[in-house]
């Protein structure tokens, strides 16, 4: 065999080996991905299958009974809805205003790099530390006590970085020419923001806000010492009342209350999951619709 053929054959073998390695590697990558994706399907499927039979109108709309082992989860649902409603009221204006500052007003100096750094770190603070902070500032220092107000403020601060980041992105995606036209017509800076920029950023801001809120709705650690009541026999009357909340209720049911039908826990988990996921789906749909309708 002449050396040229041998070299060709060697190269061929090498290529085949590389191909084989690639095939094995791709298979492994596929398995890894499947493992992760399947786990999420498994978790959700399981909660759906075991929780769905327990769902009933009664479960959703009555008070807990017999040491929370029976009855419904009505106060927890109401508590969570009130909590996230209040959270939006506090977090949205401040978050959007901060984003407007960062995109429309701030120049690129050390102060604003500092602000950005603060936002990055804020989004990394552990949720239980937000809980401690809420306890220290709102519950004790401001004397709000363990209340809806203290909890919503804590959750609002936790949600703030999400809203700021999303709003900033939405504001930045509005073309610069919109601002230039508005200025050239004699509009002031605020008028420009208000009429030529903000309206076009609304869908993006809404998407980000809903995503932030869906996270807040599922959080337990920040409300542990600021709002959550183990059991309250009535609905909160004012923002200074304690309230039950779905995530904390699930925690209580699964760790503090023995001899409870497993389905009761799964049912509660399902309601929480449905609430959080429907918020997520809403955000995704909003984003998709907006992208399709965008005209520039």
């Amino acid at each position: 065999m002449d050396p040229a053929t041998r070299r060709v054959q060697a190269a061929d073998r090498q290529w085949r080996r590389a191909e084989l390695i690639q095939r094995v590697a791709f298979a492994l990558l596929f398995i890894a991905t499947l493992l992760v994706a399947l786990a999420s399907v498994l978790v959700m499927g399981l909660i759906l299958i075991r929780g769905a039979p327990w769902l009933s109108w009664e479960f959703l709309t009555t008070m807990p009974a017999r040491g929370m082992r029976a009855g419904g989860i009505f106060p927890a649902i109401v508590g969570t809805l009130e909590l996230i409603g209040l959270t939006v009221v506090f977090a949205l204006p401040m978050g959007v205003a901060a984003a407007i500052y960062l995109t429309e007003y701030a120049r690129d100096n050390w102060m604003n790099r500092f602000i950005r750094l603060a936002i990055v770190n804020l989004s990394g603070v552990p949720s239980v530390v937000y809980g401690l902070f809420g306890l220290g500032l709102f519950v004790i220092f401001c004397r709000f006590g363990t209340s809806l107000l203290a909890g919503a403020l804590t959750l609002a601060i936790m949600t703030l970085p999400v809203i700021i980041t999303a709003s900033e992105e939405a504001l930045r995606s509005v073309p610069q020419s919109f601002r230039e036209v508005s200025h050239s017509l004699g509009a002031s800076r605020w008028q420009t923001v208000r009429h030529a920029v903000l309206p076009f950023a609304v869908p993006g801001i809404m998407t980000g806000t809903i995503l932030g809120i869906s996270r807040a709705a599922g959080e337990t650690a920040p409300i542990l010492f600021t709002v959550a009541a183990f059991y309250v026999p009535r609905l909160p009357h004012s923002v200074f009342d304690q309230a039950m909340a779905l995530p904390y209720h699930l925690y209580v049911l699964s760790t503090q209350i023995p001899n409870i039908p497993q389905a009761h826990r799964y049912g509660t988990a399902l309601v929480l999951l449905l609430l959080v996921l429907s918020l997520n789906v809403l955000a995704v749909v909003l984003r998709a619709r907006f992208r399709r309708k965008r005209q520039w």
């Binding site: 191909e19 390695i21 791709f26 990558l29 890894a32 493992l35 992760v36 786990a39 999420s40 399907v41 978790v43 399981l46 978050g95 205003a97 901060a98 407007i100 500052y101 007003y105 701030a106 604003n112 500092f114 750094l117 603060a118 990055v120 770190n121 804020l122 989004s123 990394g124 552990p126 949720s127 239980v128 530390v129 809980g131 401690l132 902070f133 220290g136 004790i140 601060i157 703030l160 970085p161 002031s188 605020w190 709705a217 599922g218 959080e219 337990t220 650690a221 542990l224 010492f225 995530p247 699930l250 925690y251 699964s254 760790t255 826990r265 988990a269 929480l272 999951l273 959080v276 996921l277």
Partner: protein, 290 residues
């Protein structure tokens, strides 16, 4: 006209104030943690707090050593990282480079859905499903162990790691891929020798952010790790993390007691750790952009 000027000035002031609020909040958090936490160090010196091996906050004499808790957090975090980093990077490679069309979208959605599941729900599933499995598989007295915590948390870190790694991979210029392929590399060789190094700093950032999430995770970890404040020797032992300690004990403390101060001091430790981790992640993210 003058009215409108005044109103605009007011609105712009509010906007500016909101802009600075982020800094104010970070400082407030730190101040309030310090305010409540530093009081502990009047009775327990900082060195003893960090290296003490006894965490018995309510016995007599009390022990306020957080070393076992730090070990617990570390063990769970390392275990979670060992699982989630390889799996996460592999998934990101598959999704960004190999999967196409509907499969890509489906896998992406499947992994992103994980990020949406509240941590109590994952903790609940870990308790009811994973813990019995672990107990049977390893013949240990309880399924609530560091390993259970690591597996649960690995899945919580996964969405962060996958999505940021994927962004980093997508950001690698097309020319790199084409050049590697033109030199006769297989796609796998191209991924390993060109793509991964080129996306390196983004991947480091992804890993750091994932780890930051794991260290700070509270509810799931509290529900599945068994909460025993001892220095762990194996993964199959109950442990207690820094976060779980705060969450589990704050409800039972008396305001103004040493125990109460100690929990805030743990909060300071956590705040500092996550601050550093996020700072590093941010550095690497920005290196990517340049």
């Amino acid at each position: 006209m003058r009215w409108r000027r005044a109103r605009e000035r007011l609105i712009e002031t509010l906007i500016r104030l909101s802009g600075f609020s982020a800094i104010a909040i970070v400082m407030l958090i730190f101040v309030f943690l310090l305010k409540e936490g530093v009081a502990l160090f009047r009775t327990v010196p900082l060195g003893e707090f960090l290296t003490g091996q006894r965490w018995y906050p309510i016995s007599e004499p009390p022990g306020f050593g957080v070393f076992p808790l730090i070990c617990g957090s570390l063990l769970v975090t390392i275990g979670a990282a060992m699982l989630s980093v390889p799996l996460g990077i592999a998934s990101a490679l598959f999704i960004s480079e190999i999967a196409r069309g509907w499969m890509k979208e489906l896998l992406k959605a499947g992994i992103e859905l994980f990020a949406a599941i509240p941590s109590v729900v994952l903790g609940f599933i870990g308790m009811t499903l994973l813990a019995p499995l672990i107990r049977q598989a390893f013949h240990v007295p309880t399924g609530l162990t560091a390993l259970t915590g690591s597996i649960t948390l690995a899945f919580m870190a996964m969405p962060t790691i996958v999505s940021i790694t994927e962004d980093a991979l997508t950001a690698v210029p097309r020319g790199y891929r084409e050049a590697a392929m033109a030199l006769g590399a297989t796609r796998w060789q191209m991924m390993v020798r060109v793509l991964l190094p080129a996306a390196g700093s983004g991947i480091v950032a992804a890993v750091m952010l994932g780890i930051g999430r794991v260290i700070g995770e509270t509810m799931a970890v509290m529900m599945v790790t068994g909460n025993a404040a001892v220095i762990p020797h194996t993964m199959l032992q109950p442990v207690r993390t820094l976060t779980a300690t705060i969450a589990a004990e704050m409800g039972e403390t008396v305001r103004g007691s040493d125990h109460y101060f100690a929990l805030f001091a743990i909060g300071i430790v956590l705040f500092v750790i996550t601050f550093v981790v996020n700072l590093i992640a941010d550095r690497f993210l920005h290196r990517e952009q340049r």
